[in-house]
Amino acid sequence: MAYPVSEDELHAYVDGELDSERRQAVERYLAEHPEAAERVRDFASYNRALHQAYDRVLDEPLPIGMARPRAALWHAWALRAAAAIALLVVGATGGWWGKTAVEGDVAQRPNIASRAAVAHAVYTPEDRHPVEIEGGNEEHLVNWLSKRIGAPLKTPKLTEAGYRLVGGRLVPASSAPAAYFMYENDAGHRITLYARARYPNEKKTAFRYSYQGDIGVFYWMDERLGYAVAGQMTRDELQLIAKLIRAEIEG
């Protein structure tokens, strides 16, 4: 009774995650509970075995070419070149391309961008019920939402940009339901992805930007679905994430 120790703390002890006070509590506990002490010794032995088996990989010479990802360099160069050419074209044609990329205030356009901005505004401030199904249950979440909106969905991984999936919910669109996914970073900033089937009168579109108050939205339509990414951040910051989402969806 004297030193209640949780199962998690036994692992944290093995992995050096405890402060000195809890470490001592665990040590006192282990001294009196030989069976727990044996388990802890076993857990620690697995960590040691991993090092003994795999540390030698650190000393192996790198395969030729691994330190120089040529394809990626080429890719980056080609993108920059394409962007430079596009700029030239825009300049030459009076910049029509730049103009269509910004729709302006979405409040005047009851389209996917405004729906997404509204959903973002309604649910992201929620502390207790931001989503219907949590991200831990990702497979169920995706299957359910795919079924309801009638097209296979994917949850993009945004961990590379520091965001993890909080979860999702079903939200209304004008004639059919839409899927809504929420992501959050360590600072508590939330961004949302809204997706629904494309309506018959809608065309495929490239990336576009709108805003509603301080909520920015990047949106586009592909073969089957329309997508909108909403967040409260600068346009450039949101664009980075929206591009990552699109790459994840297309990849």
Partner: protein, 170 residues
């Protein structure tokens, strides 16, 4: 140059992790290569000053998850020839037999438990870093780690796994 250096410094540990994750040297290096290509093309997503190692492992996890997903319906592609009796353990190594048993047992774990066990036990990421890398809550890291290690014990001691034991306190 600086960017190149930052990424290159991570390669040995990424290779170690991938080797342990897949149990196959060629497959592991393919994964590392994928991961590096992705790191190059997405370097703008990395926030300078934040932990580059955790970021690279995040990418590695995503590459691995894609690999697993793509090969889900083609088990022959993920058959790993040297699972179990593999070359990581030198025959003259002290306690070689025990080591081989542990490695073989780790390979029997579900991928999600193996990932946590390797990130924490081999790569020595903190629990918080592992949660970030995997995009899961801290509590899920803990439960996967705990289940993974209990399962290893069950395999290695040939004891049935007792489910549902959480609190060992009082």
């Amino acid at each position: 140059m600086e960017k190149q250096q930052l990424i290159i410094e991570q390669i040995p540990k990424l290779r170690r992790y991938a080797r342990a994750l897949t149990g196959n040297a060629a497959l592991a290096d393919d994964l590392v290569q994928d991961c590096l290509e992705r790191a190059w093309s997405r370097f703008h997503l990395w926030q300078p000053g934040s932990n580059i190692r955790a970021w690279m492992f995040t990418i590695m996890h995503n590459c691995y998850a894609n690999f697993v997903r793509k090969n889900k319906h083609q088990p022959s592609l993920v058959t790993i020839e040297d699972w179990g009796g593999d070359a990581q353990v030198a025959p003259n190594q002290e306690n070689a037999a025990e080591l081989r048993d542990v490695i073989a047992a780790i390979r029997q774990l579900p991928a999600e438990q193996r990932e946590v066990l390797l990130l924490v036990g081999l790569e020595e990421l903190t629990y918080a870093e592992a949660a970030k890398v995997l995009g899961i809550p801290l509590g899920t890291v803990m439960s996967r780690l705990s289940r993974g290690r209990e399962k290893l014990r069950a395999i290695l001691t040939h004891r049935p796994l007792i489910a549902g034991v959480r609190q060992v306190g009082d």
